[in-house]
Amino acid sequence: MIRALRKSEGFLYVLPALAFVAAFVLWPLAQLGYLSLTDTSLLGGGEFIGFENYIKAFEDKSFWRALQFTLKYTVFITPLLMGLGFALALLTAPNRPVRQITRAIIFLPVVIGIGSSSLLWFWLFDQQVGLFNRILVDIGILAEPAVWFTKADMALLAVTISITWKVIGFGMLLFVAGIQSINGEIGEAALIDGGNYWQRVWYIILPLSLRVILLTTLISVIGSMLAFEQFYIMTGGNPRGQTFTSVYWIYQNSFISFKLGYGAALSIILTLIILVFSSLQVILSNRSPSQ
């Protein structure tokens, strides 16, 4: 009896957290699955309708367009974030004062809210009062202030610029840690062999950082696939609904049109897509379950 208690003692400490996750993550997930099979709306309904919502989703051009746009955004921004992040990491990895301060400054926007940063950039991009426009005009890149949010491609570019500013430090810091963990002796051996700096980057630093790069790419892809705030605030899905992302479209269906059942089906589809990437992330992560 005492023995059984001893054995379960540790479990008692874990139990509250487990109960919380069960009640507020796993149970809602089950509810989501059920909701997706009904015609629930905030006004009522709730009849079981089988897979009708899913069939509707596959025929819903707006949903596919939102999914496609989200993919386009992801494919567009990910290489930019990874490439630029790695370049900045190479620049700031050595622990010298100027570089450390630069590193801290580049990381700073990561800690501010995406709502605040999107509103900040919404102002910078404004045709009338935006200083980003004025800078581009003053240095001769633009002849006159641009209207950023009336064309889908321009809007995508504007959001990409603002998000790059906001999150570039995230990847950079992970890459810095990766680069710093590479044993100095390997680099010195290469130096003796006569390798120049770029050869060392290409043949030593890059290959040895591959795991970190892959993980950071996955984290970044998941983040982009779930993008919402930056578009909600900066484009409002416009022009003509061309910049709705998946999450934005789900939000629109569930909480603006109150089509909860249909929104749930879209959520399940999105969750499955994300699951592919997040499983890869967990598998790649250091801590294997057996540890």
Partner: protein, 298 residues
């Protein structure tokens, strides 16, 4: 300024690498120039926003805009503090939700981390994976069922309800971090306590908690920043004007009274909203960076 340069991540090896890089002087200058240029670009939006916030409202909406304020006024700040229910109400809402999130995260993650790090139990890794499940399921997808459940429980439009959603977001990271923190405490200390005949709860309180303070600070720090900044669930759950959190209130400032954006007030609001995060980051950078590197990739 050294506090700003987040501690040495791994000083010894880095010294090697940079020496191995064998930089010549001109390259050193080039690197310095690049660092200054990049820092300027990164800081510019924040500095420009701050400068705009202290312009007189007429100058703040002038076209073309000015870089350096030609006028000085706190009117934008006064306006944003008097906006609707008053900025202090929204700051209060945000602080309350963030505090509840910190409490919930610590109340769940400290015992869970302790249990996972210090006890043998059947199916331990299964429990651990379940606790990390919120990492794999985007919370954006769960908001509809959560909203329906919370409405029934009277938790929709409440600070506690929103804090619970924010806790879902932060819990896996918190538990992961606390497990690591407790695992890194030497066994001998625990053995000594066992000899003294204390039970596990006393051991946690008297021996482990004091040693796990850095981990606890990191968990609290991340919980605060995540909650203070979180947008989507605050937008959905807090649908009464007086219960808005700061980010939601800012969007409503942007919409303006008659469709015209009050640019000066908006920038004042943006500055107020980012200030706590920036201050905390600068003060607790060591904890922040350590926690970030610990939780993000490993």
């Amino acid at each position: 300024m050294t506090a700003l340069a987040e501690g040495s991540l791994r000083p010894a090896t880095v010294e090697h690498v940079s020496r191995a890089a064998g930089e010549s002087r001109p390259i050193g200058y080039l690197v310095g120039a690049a660092c200054v240029a990049i820092s300027t670009i990164m800081l510019a939006p924040l500095v420009l926003s701050f400068l705009a916030s202290i312009k007189a409202p007429t100058e703040a909406r002038a076209s073309p805009p000015t870089y350096i304020p030609q006028s000085f006024s706190l009117e934008n700040y006064i306006k944003v503090f008097e906006y609707q229910a008053g900025m202090l109400t929204y700051i209060g809402n945000s602080l309350l939700v963030a505090t509840l999130t910190i409490i919930l995260c610590l109340a769940l993650a400290v015992p869970a981390g302790y249990g996972l790090a210090r006890f043998k139990m059947p199916f331990k890794e299964l429990w651990f994976i379940i606790l990390l499940a919120p990492l794999m399921i985007p919370y954006q997808a769960l908001l509809t069922p959560l909203y329906l459940t919370f409405s029934k429980m009277g938790l929709a439009n409440s600070h506690l309800g929103l804090a619970m959603v924010h806790t879902i977001l932060q819990l896996p990271f918190s538990i992961y971090l606390m497990r690591n923190a407790f695992e890194s405490i030497p066994r001998e200390l625990e053995e000594a306590a066992k000899v003294d005949g204390t039970n596990s709860w006393q051991t946690l309180r008297s021996i482990f908690l004091p040693l796990a303070v850095p981990g606890i600070v990191t968990v609290g720090l991340f919980a605060f920043i995540a909650s203070w900044n979180e947008f989507l669930s605050a937008l959905i759950f807090m649908n009464k004007e007086t219960s808005f959190t700061v980010p939601i209130m800012l969007v409503s400032v942007r919409s303006g009274d008659f469709g015209a954006v009050d640019w000066g007030a908006l920038q004042a609001g943006v500055i107020v909203s980012i200030l706590p995060c920036v201050i905390i980051y600068l003060l607790l950078q060591k904890y922040y960076v350590a926690g970030f590197l610990n939780g993000a990739v490993k």
